[in-house]
């Protein structure tokens, strides 16, 4: 799965979980830029991403996510190593 497709699928998840159809993912997007992206909804998004891409995150990996780029990088890495 290429990066563009990951971004597309992730955009659908973000729009649904954070309840905002206007969200456009960009590499430097962080929780500060999205109204409903807080610690409560963050784990919902993580759970949805795991289901969509059939991957499993480690807790330690989540602590290192700083922005959308790091999330897409991690997803890409996990999908490739499947």
């Amino acid at each position: 799965m290429d990066r563009a497709l990951i971004t597309e699928k992730l955009t659908t998840i973000f729009r649904s979980v954070f309840n905002d159809q206007a969200i456009v993912l960009r590499d430097d997007l962080t929780a500060n830029d999205v109204a409903n992206w807080d610690s409560l909804s963050h784990m919902l998004m993580i759970g949805e991403a795991e289901k969509e891409f059939s991957v499993k995150f480690k807790l330690k990996e989540l602590g290192k996510l700083e922005d959308v780029k790091s999330l897409i990088d991690l997803l890409e890495q996990k999908i490739q190593s499947k």
Binding site: N19, D38, L40, G47
Partner: protein, 479 residues
């Protein structure tokens, strides 16, 4: 040694003078000595406990860092967490657990005498224990390197401005400051003193003034009418804001004067329009700690249950937060109310967003006011269980009387109510301006020397005029 004591008024300037006279490389060592002196001053034997937690944290974080095997690293982390928590459990929960066991045994007809500890909870133990745990878990998660110098770890856990009631600091924020250049900065000295001045106002003029009324009512609840109980209940959040908020500002200010930045603890909490927003503004360092080390692992574990996993994690986190505040059922109820309120907000978020969008409510002042008032009332109600009125049945009785007693004039304590209201009005106006018109009215930060100094003198005068100087303890020392 309490921030509002005469001893501290001698201790802090003396520490400052010696601190800035010493060469930079020795300053952190002096801070460590001063911090232990400060702590020993409370009760020498408790410093041994603080030192033991420091040593445990130091040894295990370094073992974790040196070990390659995942299993061993985990074992070291778990062992360190258990050993660090042991003193807290012993001092804080031993009697609570024993009383629970005693009641259970009583139910089945066994009347056993169980041991009871009659020692006071070591001051600050809940705070430095959480700081030590956070540091250990950060090292385990490879988010920070293990510190090789035990003195730096000791200073982190004993740093006198925060050791007694927080803010609950992170090693990642403090270590590099202790090891870096602790330079004199006139700008930081001024900022720090401004924070301290405002902190003293919040504590002495607001919290301690309101305490007179609240204590008079709650300590004799049976003698007071429902309207007095309601008024005292509504005053509680303001009192705790003045107390812990004031303490936090003094602590942050002390550290800032010495050139050290400590994380903030409050951000104008009464302007929160929802409970989730409230908890991003109230006791921020504790909530951030609980989010990172309790809620996140829990919600990660429950993530396959989607929204309900979040609800379970939220409730467990706030019940743990309740238990952290005190070893009694009323604190668990307090935590449970927060958990339920946040869960309801989480579950109804989408429909609430749609409702607000449909009627364009989000920026309407009256809708925001309603949100602030509702959040405040909910928190005040929950605080009845986390406040002074001891047991759950007693709190329920008070709440019942608030609803059922006929409306009468509340208990009047003219001076307290007038001075308390004045102090609150000043704090409220300051917070309101900073919330909605930031930078519009500058007093402490005014470029004009006369305005700035006039503001300092005014606050100082108000502290003496409205403040209470009876050596009241800070509410959070008991935690």
């Amino acid at each position: 040694m309490v921030f509002t004591s005469f001893n501290f008024l001698v201790f802090f300037p003396t520490v400052l003078v010696v601190y800035f006279l010493l060469p930079q490389k020795f300053r952190w060592i002096f801070l460590l000595a001063a911090s232990y002196y400060f702590y020993i001053n409370i009760k020498p034997v408790y410093a041994v406990l603080l030192a033991a937690v420091t040593l445990t944290t130091y040894i295990f974080t370094n073992l974790i860092a040196k070990t390659k095997s995942d299993g061993k690293r985990r074992a070291y982390m778990v062992t360190s967490v258990i050993l660090t928590l042991l003193p807290l459990f012993f001092f804080k929960y031993f009697n609570f657990v024993n009383e629970g066991i005693y009641s259970l045994l009583n139910l089945v007809g066994l009347h056993l005498q169980l041991p009871h500890i009659s020692m006071l909870l070591p001051v600050g133990i809940s705070f430095y224990t959480f700081m030590a745990l956070g540091y250990t878990i950060d090292v385990y998660n490879e988010e920070i390197d293990a510190e090789k110098n035990i003195g730096v770890v000791a200073l982190f856990l004993s740093f006198f401005p925060v050791v007694m009631s927080g803010p609950i600091e992170r090693a990642g924020n403090m270590f590099h400051q202790f090891k870096g250049k602790l330079e004199f900065s006139a700008e930081k000295v001024v900022q720090g003193l401004q924070l301290m001045l405002w902190g003293y106002f919040m504590k002495l003029a607001l919290a301690d003034r309101l305490s007179i009324y609240i204590d008079a009512v709650f300590k004799n609840a049976d003698q007071h009418v429902g309207s007095s109980l309601l008024l005292a209940t509504l005053m509680q959040p303001i009192r705790v804001y003045g107390d812990l908020g004031g303490y936090s500002l003094i602590a942050i200010g002390c550290a800032r004067v010495m050139g050290i930045n400590v994380i903030p603890n409050f951000n104008r909490p009464f302007f929160a329009t929802t409970m989730s927003e409230f908890w991003r503004r109230w006791h921020i360092s504790l909530i951030k700690w609980l989010t990172d080390y309790v809620y996140t692992p829990l919600s990660f574990g429950f993530r396959k249950y989607g929204m309900w996993g979040i609800v379970i994690s939220l409730n467990l986190t706030f019940i743990i937060s309740g238990a952290w505040h005190g070893a009694a059922f009323n604190f668990l109820v307090w935590g449970f109310i927060q958990g339920v309120a946040l869960s309801v907000e989480m579950l109804t978020r989408k429909s609430k967003d749609a409702f607000e969008a449909r009627f364009n409510l989000a920026k309407k002042w009256w809708y925001m006011l309603f949100g602030c008032a509702f959040t405040y009332l909910l928190f005040a109600l929950s605080l009845s269980f986390g406040g002074d009125a001891a047991t759950v049945p007693e709190v329920l009785k008070i709440l019942g009387r608030i609803v059922t007693d006929p409306i009468q004039m509340p208990y009047k304590d003219g001076d307290t109510m007038l001075y308390g209201f004045l102090a609150f009005a000043i704090v409220f106006i300051k917070d309101f301006m900073e919330e909605f018109y930031p930078g519009r009215v500058l007093l402490f930060n005014n470029k004009n020397n006369t305005v700035r100094w006039l503001a300092y003198y005014c606050v100082l005068f108000l502290i003496f005029y409205l403040g209470i100087f009876s050596g009241e303890q800070f509410v959070y020392f008991q935690f």
